[in-house]
Structure formats: C-alpha cells, structure tokens
C-alpha cells in the first residue's frame, strides 16, 4: 500500500504549463539564433542554457523525477555527474593542447 500512497498524481494543468514553456523556449531558441549577441560563444552559451532548462523541465515533470524517490533522484544525479565528467575531461584536452607551443601538443 505504501507504494500507492507515495504515487503522486500530477494535475493536467502542470503538464500543459510545461508543454507551453517548452514550445515557447523552442521559439526563443530559434529567434535568438538570428541575433548577434556580440560573440559566437555567447550565442552558443545562451542556446545551451535554454536547452539545459528545457531538458530539466522534461526530466522533472514529464519523467516525474520531481516526485520520485531519493533513489530515483540519486540515479539521475549519477547520470548528470557522468556527463559532466565526460565534458570536463574532454575539456582538459582542449584547454591544454597548446601549452607546449607545438600544434596539437
């Protein structure tokens, strides 16, 4: 019974709100890609930030992680840590490639 009591029923309005937010943010991503924010890095940073926010909405609400158990949240957390680890270690390569003053080294 405990499992049934823990099951969280999400109101439809929440799903519609999240869906609307995702559509609006998709439009914002497309719109902002046509604007020059001063540097291409800034454009990429803004686009990625919007994408991360949208992904968070999907994970939290559509995938019910917000209402999930601690174990579920921990599993999702491990996935995020793993992704950050991949990105960080790859960036160690990119950041230090030119330190020796030889191309590619």
């Amino acid at each position: 019974m405990a499992a049934h009591e823990e099951h969280h029923v999400v109101p439809k309005s929440v799903y519609f709100a999240v869906f609307t937010a995702l559509i609006v943010l998709t439009w914002v991503t497309a719109w902002i890609s046509t604007k020059d924010l001063g540097s291409s890095s800034l454009n990429v940073a803004v686009a990625l930030s919007i994408a991360v926010f949208k992904a968070s909405l999907v994970v939290l609400f559509f995938m019910h992680v917000k209402y999930g158990t601690k174990l579920t949240k921990m599993i999702v957390g491990i996935g995020i840590v793993w992704l950050l680890m991949l990105l960080f270690i790859v960036m160690i390569d990119f950041w230090t490639r030119t330190w020796m003053g030889v191309a590619g080294r």
Binding site: W82, M85, I92, F94, R97, M100, R105
Partner: protein
C-alpha cells in the same frame, strides 16, 4: 502377451512447458529469452569467425593474393563490428546473465520480463541491419568508425552500420536496466548484498557501465550519421568540426565496453574457481568491490587510445596514470582467484580448465595493456599487431574463455544433460594451445613494426603470420568441437541432476532444467555465499536418509 513399458514422463520444466515457435518468440521467461540470445549470438559468432578465417588465410602469404585492399578493409571491419557489437557485448550478460541472474537471487524472473523480450527483438533488428550491410557490400572504416574518413570519404555503408550499432545499444541499455532493478528489488528473503554470488556483483557492475556508457556511443554515432548525411560539422575540420572529439566520445563508451565484455567473464571465473576448488573465494568483498572499481575507473582511461592523435600531452599524462590505476582491481581479482585455488580441493573438469586458461591469458592481456598505457612506448606500438595481440588476449583469451567456462559450467543446468567430459577437456586444451599459437606471434610482429589493417607485408614477417594462421585453425577446432558435443548432449547426454558439480548457488538447488517459475517455493537464504560446509552437511544428510 507383452506389456509395453510406458515412457518415463519428463518433469515439467521451462523447455517442455510450452511447444511451438510462437511459444518461443512471445515468451517472457528469462530462461527461454536466454536461449533465443544463445542461438542469435552464436550465429553472429560464426559469421564473425568466418571473417577471421578470411583474414588469416589472406595473411598466410606476404602478397595480397586472396582479396584486394578494399575487400580486406571490409572483411576486418565486419569482423570487428560483428564480434564486438553482436557477439562479445551481449554474449555473457544476455545469455548466462539472463538465464542465471533470477535463479541466483531466488526470483521467478527478471523485474521486467516484457522489456527483456523487447531487448532481444531490438538486438535482432540491429543485427538485421548488420546483415544487410554485409550482404550489400560492407563497410571499410574499421569498427572504430574514425572521422573524417567515416563521415566524408568512405564509400561503404557507414550510416547503415552505425545504425545497426546504434539500435543494438538500446538492447544493451534495456538489459542493464533490467539487471539493476532485479538485483535491487527481487532478491530472496535473507539474500543480503554480501551474500550475493560474485557473478551477480559482476553483472551489476556491468549493467552500470551499460546504462552510463551506451547512450554516449548512441549520441556519437547519431552525430556521425548527421555529419555524413547532412554535412553538419561535428568532427570533420572541413565543416568546422574536430576529429579528435569523435575519438573522445567514441572511446568514452568503447573503452568501458571492454569491461562490459570482461567483467561478466570475471563473474563466471569467480563461480567456477570457487566450485572446482570447493572453497569460498579468497577475499569475497575485495572481488565484489573490485568489480565496482573497474566499472568506475574504467570510465576514466579512454584517452590512452588517443596518445598519437593531437590530444594534449598533459591530458595524456592524466589518462596514463589512471590507466595504471585501473590495473589494480583487475590484479586483485587475479591474485584472489589464485589464492582461492591454493590449498583447495582442485578438480580439473572442463569449466575449471577454461577458467585457469582465462587467468593466464587475461594476465598476459592485462600486463601488455600496461605497455600501451605508457605514453612513450605507445608511440612505437600504436596501430601495430602488438595492439591486436593485446586486445585479443583480453577479449578472446579473457572474455571468450570465460564464456566457454560459463557455458560448460551451467550447460547441465540449462539443458538438464551432461556433455562428454573427455571431449570437453580436449576442447579446452585445444582452445588454449590454438589461442596462444594464434596471438602470441602477433606480439612479436607488432614489436617488430608490422602495422594492423594491411593485407600485404614484408616477407620477413611471414613466419610469424604462418604460425598465427596455423594457430587459428587449431583455435577454430577448439570452438567447433564444443559446438558439436553440446548440441549432441541436448538429446543424448546423461541426465545431469540438480547439482552435478557440488556447487553452492541457489541455481543449483532447483531441478535441471529448472521449472518455468524457477523454484517450487521461494528460497530463504540463511547462510553466507559459497558455504561449502552447509553443502557438505546437506549432502551427508541426504546420503544418510537415502
């Protein structure tokens, strides 16, 4: 008047519970799904093996007299793609893991039986694409799909091959997910984490890699398809991409994938060594946690595949140190297996011969990996036959020897019949001898400078290549003989009984073959894992009563 003796009715088990093709193709029984995998994976092993035969025939002479360069490129690529994605990765988890995990933890099935069946269909779909590629003319990129050759220049069916591996990855993820949830949620009463068989620990660790690593290769192959099909720049400098980024993303999965292949094999070896030494594994906790450590550290070493790319030397140093560290948990296992055998009642049955072979060959494979983890030496050895020899010692000498040990160990449980033990002993010895004859000369070839992926080579290398090709024929015999006697034993073998080896796991406490629901009543675990004293007591009691 004579009275006909009524045929002895075989007790109901998962094999005779239902009949007909439909009962197999729609089954949700983990044991039947394991058999489906066994058939499919074995078929791919035969195809991949035939590619190996072609390679070794071509390399028997220095001239390219059997096929042209382009065909040779396609043959070694298909050998790698099929053997890695369609044989090695699913072999032990999808066959032995599927069959045994619920039995070992006292459960009726895996947590998600339907997802288990779906995983097989997804595997078959990926495999179908692989076969279509093969029949259409193949692909020539090598199994590593390195860019920009794969994304811009190759004339082969790159997208279709990448799609095959991409789809196959989902099968892997589904299996890993099922195993993790099953181990967490479905253990029998009293079966605490530290009472679990080491096979289960190994498969749990493997599942973690499957879930955390496989999505990355899926994304990478998807990006490759986008670049090749739509010219969106990710990896090709011509489109503003970085080819080394592909290597980073590819090896982030593909190095841990080596542990997807070897960890389940290590799980098998722990069970076999313990059973045939009649002794609890030395350092159970260390072996269990070394599996977890391999799963974690295995993710941090991928850059040792990139030493000769334009990867930063500083990043290379970090990867080099981490690569040495990952050798420690592997060494812990090897020492603990040796210590388990020490003063044990060692029985040299076929599974044990394979297991001992595994220890020797994996040790050679692991130690030569340290050569390749050294940044300076790797410059000399990269893309030579030394690398080929190293990873075949790990994947064939390690993973496949472990697979064979497992198949020989649990075959009586799977089909309920015993195979001819003398033939199994012959096969194990042939495999060991044939393997070493095939791959040891390749260490020398590589050290002398013979590059991989060439079908024409200087005449002075011929003697080692002939030794290698001769060894491959012995190795082939070592694989063919078990295929014959195992199939033969299904109908003709002696009935095996529930526990023919005197092993301790829960899977040996049910009948062979097991009933559909695995156990008549849910077992309650009251002893530690590998408690041979309890087993002896039970056997004595049974003997006394009998």
């Amino acid at each position: 008047m004579t009275t006909a003796t009524p045929p002895v009715k075989e007790p109901k088990n998962y094999l005779n519970a239902e009949h007909g093709l439909r009962s197999w193709l729609l089954t949700q029984d983990h044991k039947r799904i394991a058999i489906l995998y066994l058939i499919a994976v074995s078929a791919f092993f035969v195809v991949g093996g035939l590619m190996a035969v072609l390679i070794r025939l071509e390399l028997a002479t220095p001239a390219g007299d059997l096929m042209d360069s382009n065909t040779y490129n396609k043959v070694f690529t298909m050998h790698g793609v099929i053997m890695i994605f369609f044989f090695l990765i699913p072999s032990i988890p999808a066959i032995l893991g599927n069959f045994l995990l619920p039995l070992m933890i006292g459960a009726k099935d895996l947590a998600f039986p339907r997802i288990n069946l779906i995983s097989w269909y997804v595997y078959m779909l990926g495999g179908t694409f692989g076969v279509i590629v093969l029949l259409s003319g193949g692909v020539d990129t090598g199994w590593t799909f390195y860019t920009p050759f794969s994304s811009s220049y190759s004339n082969g069916y790159v997208v279709l091959t990448a799609l095959a591996a991409f789809i196959n990855g989902f099968s892997s993820i589904l299996t890993g997910l099922n195993f993790i949830v099953t181990v967490h949620r479905m253990r029998a009463p009293g079966l605490t984490w530290f009472r679990l068989p080491l096979f289960v620990w190994a498969h749990y660790s493997t599942s973690v890699i499957m879930i955390l690593g496989t999505p990355v290769i899926a994304v990478t192959l998807f990006l490759l398809m986008l670049e090749r099909g739509l010219h969106i720049g990710f990896f090709d400098p011509a489109y503003g991409g970085d080819p080394v980024l592909f290597q980073h993303l590819f090896w982030f999965y593909s190095h841990p994938a080596v542990y997807i292949m070897i960890l389940p094999s290590m799980g098998v070896i722990s069970e076999v060594i313990s059973t045939f030494s009649s002794k609890k594994p030395f350092g159970y906790t260390f072996i269990a946690f070394s599996s977890v450590a391999i799963a974690v550290f295995g993710f941090l070493v991928w850059g040792h595949h990139l030493y000769v790319s334009s990867q930063s030397a500083y990043a290379g140093m970090v990867f080099s140190i981490l690569s040495y560290i990952v050798a420690i948990p592997s060494a812990i296992k090897v020492f603990n297996w040796a210590a388990t055998m020490y003063k044990g009642s060692v029985r040299l049955e076929a599974p044990m011969l394979y297991a001992i072979g595994f220890i020797g060959l994996f040790t050679v494979g692991g130690l030569t990996g340290l050569f390749l983890a050294a940044m300076g030496l790797d410059v000399h050895l990269t893309d030579t036959y030394f690398v080929i020899a190293h990873f075949h010692y790990v994947m064939v000498g390690g993973a496949i020897m472990g697979y064979q040990a497992g198949i020989h160990f649990w075959w009586p449980k799977i089909v309920g019949r015993m195979y001819p033990r003398a033939w199994a002993t012959v096969a194990a010895i042939l495999t060991f001898v044939g393997f070493n004859l095939t791959f040891f000369p390749q260490f020398i070839l590589g050290y002398l400078g013979m590059p991989r992926r060439y079908h024409v080579y200087p005449p002075e290398f011929q003697v080692f290549n002939v030794l290698s090709s001769a060894g491959a024929s012995v190795l082939g015999l070592g694989y063919l003989i078990p295929a014959i006697y195992l199939i033969w034993s299904i109908k003709n073998g002696e009935p095996a009984g529930a526990n023919p080896w005197g092993a301790t796991g829960l899977e040996w406490q049910t009948s062979s073959p097991p009933p559909t629901e695995n156990f008549e009543v849910t077992p309650v675990v009251t002893t530690e894992a590998y408690d041979y004293t309890a087993l002896t007591l039970t056997t004595q009691e049974v003997t006394h009563v009998g």
